[in-house]
Symmetry: C2
Subunit: 181 residues, 2 copies
DNA sequence: AGATTTACGTCAGCCATGTTGACGCTTATG
DNA sequence: CATAAGCGTCAACATGGCTGACGTAAATCT
């Protein structure tokens, strides 16, 4: 194993506080790296669970957002995922074939297809959520409330302001009945 | 454009502080979502720059880590990227064909291939870094020093403890002369 | 010294997930 | 009634993962 080889002069246990001139290269790189490895590790467990069912990350993302906003139309999901409808259609086709997701005709606008999870879909999404949750809960718990707020603040700052409302809308309790355009 | 449709009851401008019981589902989901969108947006600019040269994200990751630890052997890079040698070899092949990366025989262990960037490789890596840097700098600046520390702390907590030394070693100034196993 | 292991290279094929372009249908809307 | 919007679908292609198998040089163990 080469694992140990990256270790040289060794590393303090706790993160060092951001310096007053916290915009220098080293601190930018640190953020980039932690974001990359943090994200990778967060989803690692879910990937395994997904693979066991013959599904991939793309399926998880769709399941996740549909769970988050039941009744969401396809167009909104496309905006969130930022992929083409052809890519999404493959994924949704798989999920529907497995009866994890169903479509219903929009009530206000009959051109729309509203997405929601079946009981089986919701159950799977819950399992996948738990894979992510364990890691996040531990990280939040060790870091403390203050750090979590900082974590949210920095990440929000990485998102272009015009995209933030879309993302913050996910956090509203109410399931989406889509507003008229 | 359906963008505006995800907007419903609307969103406060600044992030809300983590609640005392900050381990509940809503706050976990918020972290998951911000991490996903934050990461996606961070790399978006670099992706465009890469595509303009006919390269992909995989090439960037290799360039990035080689820039970070010049002289790093292949095995260490494999550990960081967590992919197979076959996947990496395609990427490194491309980078060498374009004379962005060179290999030299290991000094201590002649079986190893030490990786480093050519001048052109370093120049490209710098351009790509700047794509990421702009976003991160803005996010750090708006969030403030305290938030940045929290951001680091939570992300570090997402990484399994046994992997942290490898990642923290990236942040040591010194270029790697690989330690004997 | 000889056997074994390590570090790396390589060929071949497969899979997941993204892309572009084109065309069609139903429903809303001006 | 014409046009636009929301969605479905076919076809082809690119990227970047994967497995499996096999080879070679150098280090290490006995």
């Amino acid at each position: 194993m080469a694992d140990v080889n990256l270790l040289r002069a060794v590393s303090p246990a706790a993160p060092i506080a951001a310096s007053p001139q916290f915009l220098r290269e080293a601190e930018i790189r640190r953020g980039i790296e932690l974001l990359y490895f943090g994200y990778s590790n967060m989803v690692k467990g879910a990937d395994v669970h997904l693979a066991a069912q013959g599904l991939g990350r793309a399926h998880h993302r769709a399941l996740y957002f549909i769970a988050r906003r039941p009744g969401m139309p396809i167009g909104d999901l496309l905006d969130l995922l930022n992929i083409t409808k052809q890519s999404l259609s493959r994924v949704l086709g798989d999920l529907q074939a497995r009866e994890l997701v169903v479509q219903t005709v929009g009530t206000r606008d009959r051109r729309q297809r509203m997405l929601s999870l079946t009981a089986a879909g919701a159950a799977l999404e819950t399992e996948l959520f738990e894979c992510l949750r364990d890691g996040v809960t531990r990280a939040y718990g060790h870091a403390g409330q203050n750090a979590v707020t900082g974590f949210w603040t920095v990440l929000t700052g990485l998102i272009p302001p015009e995209d933030r409302p879309m993302i913050e809308a996910l956090q509203q309790a109410a399931p989406a009945e889509r507003s008229a355009a």
